[in-house]
């Protein structure tokens, strides 16, 4: 990283910190990119990703996605996304529900890309995690089998 870039980054952060109110500084991607969440393009991973990032071209790798191969219960599927990339945002998609996009994280200045969450999957499907670094997308995917779980009672 050259000095200028470094300064620029520092300045950007400084400005952000000053300008945003203490509590809700959120960039709400639901407001800024509504097409990624609902509507005809939201139903598939590729088109939803395009709505969110302007492209669906991703490079496999540099992102780790942990998800169970067989979910204990489709209503509680634990997923963890981690990466050492200096990502700005992280997004999670799946194709087991009516719409694809599950969540978008904005990585804060002191943030670490190591996000866990529990998601719902209505059926067997694919989970895709994307880390965005300066407009470039890195991804990882995993298949999760969802069955009507558990014997008895």
């Amino acid at each position: 990283m050259n000095r200028r870039k470094f300064l620029g980054l520092g300045l950007g952060l400084g400005v952000a910190a000053v300008m945003t109110p203490a509590t809700l500084s959120a960039t709400n991607f639901r407001d800024t990119k509504p097409g990624a969440w609902s509507g005809q393009n939201a139903t598939a991973i590729d088109s939803s990703m395009k709505e969110l990032y302007g492209t669906s071209a991703t490079t496999e790798g540099k992102v780790k996605l942990k998800a169970p191969a067989i979910a204990e219960n489709g209503a509680v599927v634990p997923v963890t996304i981690s990466s050492k990339l200096a990502g700005k945002t992280v997004a999670l998609f799946q194709d087991a529900n009516p719409e694809s996009l599950v969540a978008v994280f904005t990585v804060p200045a002191n943030g670490v890309i190591d996000y866990s969450l529990r998601i719902k999957m209505a059926k067997t499907g694919k989970v895709v995690a994307v880390v965005e670094v300066d407009g470039k997308l890195y991804s990882a995917s995993a298949n999760v089998k969802v069955t009507a779980g558990g014997c008895g009672g």
Partner: protein, 101 residues
């Protein structure tokens, strides 16, 4: 509105790990239709320490009921308060705090 979020936050070697379980039905459109209720789910989660954002997520109806999230952030934060806020589709919001151990 809503019930208190369960928060656990612990710092180790300059990295704080926070685990939060928000209390929310996370009623998706499909579930709402089946139950004859109105869809409502958390659409945004933000966590701050000393006013600085340490976690920020835009979320959907596909997070589990009483959604659990875990995240990490750097910095010397032991003893400070982690402030966690969620906002749902209806506009309701809830903020809870917990000291970082």
């Amino acid at each position: 509105m809503g019930n208190k979020s369960r928060i656990k936050a612990k710092e180790k070697k300059g990295v704080t790990t926070a685990k939060v379980m928000a209390k929310h039905p996370m009623m998706s459109y499909d579930e709402a239709k089946k139950k004859g209720k109105k869809a409502n789910f958390i659409t945004s989660m933000v966590a701050t320490v000393d006013g600085e954002t340490v976690y920020e997520a835009s979320t959907s109806q596909f997070l589990s009921k009483n959604p659990f999230v875990k995240f990490k952030f750097k910095g010397s934060n032991k003893g400070k308060k982690l402030v966690f806020t969620w906002t749902d589709l209806s506009g309701a919001t809830r903020t809870d705090k917990k000291k970082i151990k």
